[in-house]
């Protein structure tokens, strides 16, 4: 069966510091991968998605970037965090034309 992991589970970072959140999927090959942000416990905003290694599509211009160095690894990064980057970050995977399955999420607080 497929499993999706995210870490860390929680993170507190100062403004201006770098960020790296990691997501990995087990039990499937060539998944579509997604990063979402959820602010204030409501609504999910799609940040990035990837259909293959090195292929990243950005949905919203922002202070963040994403990379997919391996088939089942998806990384969300920032060089300098802003207060507005605080939120709950969710990674998800899907097969083609299929429902998405979500990881447990990372709660990021920028102080």
């Amino acid at each position: 069966s497929q499993t999706i992991h995210q870490w860390p589970a929680t993170l507190v970072q100062p403004v201006g510091s770098p960020l790296s959140l990691e997501c990995t999927v087990e039990g499937t090959s060539n998944p579509n991968l997604y990063w979402y942000r959820q602010a204030a416990g409501r609504g999910l905003q799609l940040l990035f998605y990837s259909v293959g290694i090195g292929q990243i599509s950005s949905e919203v211009p922002q202070n963040l970037s994403a990379s997919r160095p391996q088939d089942r690894q998806f990384i969300l990064s920032s060089k300098k965090l802003l207060l507005s980057d605080s939120g709950f970050y969710l990674c998800a995977w899907s097969a083609v034309l299929a429902e998405q399955f979500f990881g447990p999420g990372t709660r990021l607080t920028v102080l």
């Binding site: 579509n32 997604y34 959820q38 416990g41 409501r42 609504g43 999910l44 799609l46 998605y49 259909v51 599509s57 949905e59 709950f88 969710l90 998800a92 899907s94 097969a95 083609v96 034309l97 299929a98 429902e99 998405q100 399955f101 979500f102 447990p104 999420g105 709660r107």
Partner: protein, 115 residues
């Protein structure tokens, strides 16, 4: 572009009762998928039910069922015999056929099940 609207920010129901959550969407697509996801206090997003637009039969999963009205662009979720563990935020989501399986979410409905 697609939009998904959930007009009920919060709902309450007593244990063992039935509750219906509303969702409407706007799209020019003819082939698409609709989903309901549940987000309990743990914040893990869990798929509840899926509906393909080309299927006239409404999807059911145990105590969860949908009322899919394609012409009206309506996709409501009915929870029968509500349980305390159903307390969660519920999100309606749209995915068009083709493309990269990206989802458009509604803003969610917070459901509280009380004893």
């Amino acid at each position: 572009a697609q939009t998904v609207t959930q007009s009920q920010p919060e709902m309450s129901v007593q244990e063992a009762e039935t509750v219906t959550l509303s969702c409407t969407y706007d799209t020019s697509e003819n082939n698409y998928y609709l989903f309901w996801y549940k987000q309990p206090p743990s914040r893990q997003m869990i798929l509840v039910i899926r509906q393909e637009a080309y299927k006239q039969q409404n999807a059911t999963e145990n105590r969860f069922s949908v009322n899919f009205q394609k012409a009206a662009k309506s996709f409501s979720l009915k929870i029968s015999d509500s349980q305390l563990g159903d307390t969660a935020m519920y999100f309606c989501a749209f995915m068009k056929h083709g493309g990269y399986s990206t989802l458009t979410f509604g803003k969610g409905t917070m459901l509280l099940v009380s004893p």
